[in-house]
Amino acid sequence: MTQRMHPLVAQAREQLAQGKLHRREFLRTVTLLGVSSATAYGMAGGILGENLVDPAMAQSGETPQAGGILRVGMQVQKMDDPATYNWVEMSNQTRHTLEHLAITGPDNVTRPMLAESWEPSDDLMVWTFNIRPGVTWHNGEELVADHVRWNIERWCDPVLGSSNIGLSSIGALMENVDEEQRLREGAIEVVDDYTLRLHLNKPVLSVPEDLYNYPTAILHPSFTAPFSANPIGTGPYTLTELAVGDRCILRRITETTDGQPFEYWGGEVYLDGIDYYNFDEDNQLVAFAGGDVDTIYEFGIEQLEFAKALPGTIEEARTAQTLCCRFQVDQAPFDDVRVRQAIVKGVDNTVYRDLVFQGSGDVGWNHHVAPVHPEYFELPPLERDVEGARALLAEAGYPDGLEVTIDVGNTDGPWHQTVCEIMRDQLQDVGVRLNINVMPASRYWEIWDKTPFGATAWTHRPLGTMVLSLGYRADVPWNETKYADPEFEAALDEAEATFDVDERRAKMERVEKILQDSAVMVQPVFRPVFTIVGDQVRNLQAHPTQYHQFNKVWLAT
C-alpha cells in the first residue's frame, strides 16, 4: 500500500491524540483511507453503515434505539423528476426513498451502494458494475441491471433535459449526431441481471463519484413524473405527504405495494419517519432554536455563535465549496498577467479562514483543488509580497496603483462580501483600490460568466479533476475566466487518466502549479458547512454537499 495521506488521516490522528477516537477505530479509518481506492471500493461491501457512523459517537457505545421521527428544517421543494432535480434539497427529500449505485460519505470517500462493486479497465474507458443482489423495490420487484440501464439511458435522452448529461462519465456515453447529443449505440451493456458495463468514449476517472451526483438516483422503470405521485424506490422510507413550501413527510416502508413485508437491503434502520418542514435557510437555525426541528439543512457562518449558544451539537463538514474571485483573462486590465499576479501577490490567503470562518474551513491556494479532494497536492504556501506586487503593477503600467471593481452576488451567503472586504483591505497596501459592487443573487447569476471581475461560488465536487475540467478548460460552458492554456489542459488530461490516487496526486502538482501561476483568481478559502443536531439525535454527520444520509440515524430518549 502506498503512502497516501488523505486529509482525514490527519484529522483522525488528531482525534486519536485528543482521545476522541479508539485505536481500533483509528486503524480502521486509516486503513480505509490508506488503501488505493480501487481496492477500497472492492472491499466496501460490508462497510456501509458502520463507517458512516461518526466514530466519536459510535465510541460512546450506546445501543441504537428504534423509533421516533426526525424533524428536519429545510426548504421543501417539489419532487417532479429525480433525474432533472436541480436543488440538493429536492434530492434530500428522495434520498431515503431512492438510492444510488455509489455513495460518497461525509468523509468524501465514495463507496458502493446499489452496486456491490465496480472495476474500471486500465484505460479507464470501460467500467463494470456489479449490481447488488437482493435489493427490493417498494413494489416487491428485485433490482436488476436492466433497471439501471433504463435509468442511464433515460439520463442520456436530450428531451428529458437531465443535468446528468453534463457529468463527464455520462457525457462519455454519448455522441454528437446531427448537432444533437445522443446515447451511443452499445455504450451500455447489460451483461447479466447483476452486471452492467459502461463503454466510454474517453477515459473518465470519476464514474463512481458521478453516480452519486444528486440527479442520479435509480428509479423504477415504471416511473412517471411527478415522483411525489407514485414514489417507488429501494430505500427504507417512502413519501407520505408533500406540500411544497410547507412540509415533506417520509415514513418507514414496512410492506411492499403488493402486500409482502418489505425488507431493506441495507440492514437495520432506526427512525420511524423523517419530516422535512419548510424553513428558509435564514430561519432554519431559528426554527431549531425554537424546538420546531431536530436538525437542519444548513446554517451560515454568521449564525455559528448563535448555534453555539443553543443546546445541540454543531456538525461541521470540510468541503471543496469555495469562492473564486476570478478575473476574465481576456478583459482589460486583467488580460495582463502582471496585473493579476500583482493582485494575487497582494493577498494573504491564510487569514480568510480565520476571519471569515472563525478557523473552520481550509485555506485555498488559488488553484481550486481542496484538501478534501483525494488527489490534493499540497503546494508550498504562497507568501504575501507587497513590494513584488507593487513592482509588477508598475511594470504593467500602473505605477500609481489601479482601481478595480468586483461584482458580488452573495449567492451563497453574506460571507462572499466579507471575503471581498478583507481583500479590499489587503489590496489597499498594494495600491489597488477595490470597489465592491454588491448585487442581488439573481442578478449576479445573469452576469457571473460575463463580468471581468466577479466573486463566483463553486460547489463541492468529490474530485479535484472534476472541478478543473468543468471550469478551466477552454471552451467548456462554465469557463468563467476565459482561461485557455494547452499546457494546463495537457497536464490535467494526464492526471485524469490516472486511476491511482497517489500517482494522480503527483501529477496534480503540475496542474495546480500552472493554474496557480496563471493567477486567474484569488481563491483563498474553502468553506465548511455547518448543521446542528439536537442532543437526542445520534449518528448524524454533516455532509460536504449537504446530502442527507439518515439511514443509520437514531433518536435517544
Partner: protein
Amino acid sequence: MATVTVDVPERGWLERLESTRAVIALILLMWVPLNVYVMFGRSFGDFADYLLVPAVPATALLYFLTLRAFRESRIALIGATLVFFWLFMAVSAPFLPLVDPNEPIAPFTPPLTEARDHFFLLGADFKGRDMLSRAIWGCQRVLVWGVTATLVAYVIGTMFGLLAGYLAGWWDEVISFIANVFLSFPVMVLFIVILNYLGASGFNIVIAVTFASAPAIMRIVRGLTLDIKTRDYVFAAQTRGEAPLWIMLVELLPNVRGPLIVDACLRLGYTTVAITTLTFLGLGLQPPDPDWGLMIRESAKTALLWKFSYMLLVPALSVSSLILGFNLLADGLREISLKD
C-alpha cells in the same frame, strides 16, 4: 415679489435667525451635505467626511431654534428632541469617537464588556461589529432615504392634488382614478411589487414610497384645494385673470402647507417604518453599511436568544424612538396649529 424695505424694525440676531430665509438656509446647510454624503459619499473618497462639517453646527442651531419655536407644546419639544438627536447623530457620525461600523472585532460580545481592546457599550453583533457604532451610523440611511422619499412623494402628490382639485373635471377624474388604483393596493403589497420589479436600493425605495404615498397625499391636497378654491381670495385672483398655474402655486399652495406639514411628520414616521420593514424583508437597503432594518434582519436569524437579544433591541428601540419623535412632533404641531 419686489423686495420691500418698509420700516423694517431693527432686529436682533436671534430674530434674524428666525426669519424664514435663515431657517431654510440652515435646513439646506444641514440636509444637502447629509444627502450628498449618504447618496454619493463614496465618490468623494476621503474628502467625504468634510462634507458634513457645516452640517453639524447647522443642526445644533436648528435644534435651538426649534426649541424656541415649539416652546408652547411640550409634546412637540419631546418629539423634536428625539428627531434632532438622530439628526445630530447622522451629521456628526464621522466625527464621533466610534469604530468603523463594518469592522468585525469580537462577535457576540455582550453589552458593557470589553473584548479585544474595545469596550462595547451596546455589545457586538454576530460579525463582531460594534452595535453602538452601527446604531448611530444606521440612522443616516434611514433619515436620508426616508426624508427624500417623503419629500418626493409630497412634491408629486401635491402637484397632482392641486391639479385635480383646482382644475377638476377630467383632470380630477383621471388623476383620482389612478390614485384609487394605487390606494386599492395594501401598501406593503405595492412596496413588494414595485421593489421586486425595480430591485432593492435607496433610490428605488424613493420611487416605491412615491407610488405608495403620493396618491394619499394627492387626496389630502385635493380635498384642501377643493376647500380653499372657494375662498374669496382665489376668486379675487381669478377675477384678475391670473393663470391657473399661478393660482395653484401662489394662492393655493402656501395655504395647503399648514395641514400638510403635520401630515408630513406622520408620513415621515410611516416611511421610516416602511424602509425598516422593507429592509427587514430583504427588499430595502442592502448590506453591508449599517441600517436598523438590516440589523434587525441579520440579528433575527443569528441571535434569537435571550442572551443575544440586545442585538434586536438596539435597532428596534432606535427606530421606535425616531418614529416616536416624528409622531410626537406631528401631535405637537397639530396642537400648536390649533392654538393659533
